[in-house]
């Protein structure tokens, strides 16, 4: 086996995938702005992506906040930083952990569900049927999910931020012995609007990635049940990795000047 052929094939396949994804993204974004806009479908998707993800996101945020408080207290004792628990929990949750962990949890739930649904539609020819019934599948299937995800994720992350800080508060006041009023005033004094807004902008981008990868994997699935299973896995893996990569890029843009 020629090693050059192997490497070459891998590179070309990768570039082809990137190209296909870019074209899909362009079509998807264009379809969000052209009429008809299916408000009913957007509402349905916001319910599925946003509202039904609340329990997962709430629990995740609560435990993340609690663990963060614990670790800062214990780890911070090495350099006398135990008193900073409230501040660091607030900044850590709103800037990073809230958006990223909520994004990852929602990616697992939502992009898998979207990929499975659209993948099944693809293998049962329902997408071809849409075309024959004078409906653009991008406007009917992809655009509502993209718009719903971009709107729902920031709202979810806002709730995650609140619950996360609350989780830190519970651990801080019950296990670590902080005074509740001091804890809350520390949180409020040291948090800045830019922390929260940067987190919300990040979560919008994460929402876009989640819906896009779900739709892309589902749209291109082929080969029956196994194809749909592969598409679902690819959607979750791809959206998780892209979320983490995009997080790094956005953090470096927002916080280095």
């Amino acid at each position: 086996m020629n090693i050059f052929a192997l490497v070459g094939r891998a590179v070309l396949t990768f570039l082809a995938e990137v190209g296909a994804l870019s074209r899909f993204t362009m079509r998807a974004v264009r379809s969000c702005f052209a009429p008809p806009v299916y408000l009913r479908l957007i509402g349905q998707q916001m319910l599925r992506i946003g509202y039904f993800s609340l329990p997962v996101v709430g629990l995740t945020a609560f435990f993340t906040g609690g663990v963060l408080a614990l670790q800062i207290y214990i780890g911070g004792s090495r350099f006398n930083a135990e008193g900073f628990v409230a501040n660091i929990v607030a900044i850590g949750i709103t800037r990073e952990l809230g958006p990223v962990i909520a994004g990852l949890m929602v990616a697992g739930r939502v992009s898998a569900a979207i990929a499975a649904e659209i993948g099944t539609m693809r293998v049962t020819e329902q997408i071809d049927a849409l075309v024959t019934l004078s409906t653009n599948p991008f406007k009917y299937l992809v655009a509502p999910r993209l718009i719903a995800a971009v709107i729902s994720l920031p709202l979810l992350v806002l709730i995650a931020d609140i619950i996360g800080i609350f989780g830190g508060f519970i651990v801080g006041t019950q296990s670590l012995g902080f005074n509740p009023l001091v804890y809350i005033s520390n949180t409020v004094d040291f948090i800045e609007p830019s922390d929260v807004t940067s987190g919300l902008i990040k979560s919008s981008v994460f929402g876009f990635i989640i819906a896009l990868m779900g739709c892309y994997s589902g749209y291109r699935s082929m080969g029956g049940a196994q194809g749909v299973g592969r598409a679902t896995t690819n959607a979750v893996v791809a959206s998780s990795i892209l979320i983490l990569a995009a997080n790094y890029v956005m953090t470096s843009i927002f916080f280095t000047s």
């Binding site: 099944t120 539609m121 049962t124 020819e125 329902q126 071809d128 049927a129 849409l130 075309v131 024959t132 019934l133 004078s134 409906t135 653009n136 009917y140």
Partner: protein, 343 residues
């Protein structure tokens, strides 16, 4: 004065990478006629339909609908052209997330912006036309049987009164009675609407019932076109073989080449233990059986080696191929270097 044909395909070619599915398709469907395209599985019939609809783009060739070229048109133009079409898919392809009446009224609500109450009435009327009661309209597609799903699919395809209707294997998977119900519905609705119909099927009974004209696809080309009455007397050997469902014929040679060689009855003349071993070796799992069979017995009986015994068998091409490959596998040599000569 010839009228513009409704659908015209000229030299349409479709390749998927190195594989050519459609080689050079020439097909004409006149307005108001019902054309059925027959052919074996995997010959490209569905690909042809999808090329006409624009779901796939042909590599070469021209497709005209009402005299208008539709192969390389913009998306907006294609959306307009597609309003003339209705299609019944092989698995009905109903939308699981919507109720049955919403499925049937889909083209009306999305394509014509009809308001929901009125669309529901039209949907119930179309369901009645295909013999389904109005309470079926409120069910989910997953709650229906195969025949009912096909009928709902038909109602959905004709709901917006299209000029051209496509049927992709309409009777596949249905029991004979339901298949005839579907055939009758196809004939009735196409006549009622004066629509042009193009169907693909391998069910000859269905084809004879619904067709005015028939065409046969073989290896990516249309090898015969004619009226439905001519199909039995056309004299084309491929058409004859397909229409009568015979296992032997010019097309069957292609299928046989793909199978591993089977033991023939002529092996009976050889010593019984050897023939059993040879038969075991020539089964598809030849390798596994070979080690078991050749370990003890054959090696000990050195009177006449297996090569000579095999070579005494009558020669037909399959047997010669089988004997040389079994021999080579057993002796572990490459076929090229092994010279088999009569003893």
């Amino acid at each position: 004065m010839a009228e513009t044909p409704k659908i015209e395909l000229r030299k349409v070619q479709k390749r998927f990478g190195p594989k050519t599915v459609l080689d050079s398709i020439d097909l004409t469907v006149e307005k108001g006629h019902s054309m059925v395209v027959i052919g074996g599985s995997g010959t490209g019939k569905s690909v042809m339909l999808k090329c006409i609809l624009g779901l796939l783009h042909p590599t070469k060739g021209s497709i005209k609908v009402d005299g208008e070229e539709v192969t390389r048109i913009s998306e907006r133009h294609r959306e307009k052209v597609l309003k003339k079409f209705g299609m019944l898919f092989q698995g009905a392809a109903l939308f699981d997330s919507l109720k049955v009446w919403e499925n049937v009224a889909f083209a009306l609500i999305q394509g014509e912006n009809m308001e929901r109450g009125k669309a529901r009435d039209v949907a119930m009327e179309k369901l009645a036309k295909v013999g389904l009661s109005s309470d079926v309209g409120d069910l989910n597609p997953s709650e229906l049987s195969g025949g009912m799903q096909k009928r709902v699919g038909l109602a959905r395809a004709i709901a917006h009164d299209p000029e051209i209707v496509f049927f992709d294997e309409p009777t596949t998977g249905l029991d004979p009675i339901m298949a005839d119900v579907i055939n009758q519905l196809i004939v009735d609705t196409v006549q009622d609407m004066g629509a042009t119909a193009l169907s693909i099927t391998h069910d000859m009974a269905s084809a004879r019932k619904i067709a005015d004209h028939m065409s046969m696809i073989y290896k990516g080309n249309i090898i015969w076109t004619g009226t439905a009455a001519e199909v039995d007397t056309c004299g084309n050997p491929y058409v004859d073989e397909f229409v009568n469902g015979r296992a032997d014929g010019p097309m069957q040679m292609e299928v046989l080449k793909a199978l591993p060689p089977a033991p023939s009855a002529k092996w009976q003349n050889s010593p019984p233990d050897l023939s059993v071993r040879i038969a075991a070796l020539s089964r598809p799992n030849g390798r596994a059986n070979a080690t078991a069979a050749t370990s003890g017995t054959l090696l000990s009986k050195r009177r006449q080696g297996p090569a000579q015994l095999l070579l005494q068998q009558p020669r037909n091409s399959l047997a010669a191929h089988a004997s040389s490959s079994i021999l080579c596998r057993w002796m572990g040599t490459r076929r090229k270097r092994h010279a088999i000569s009569p003893a």
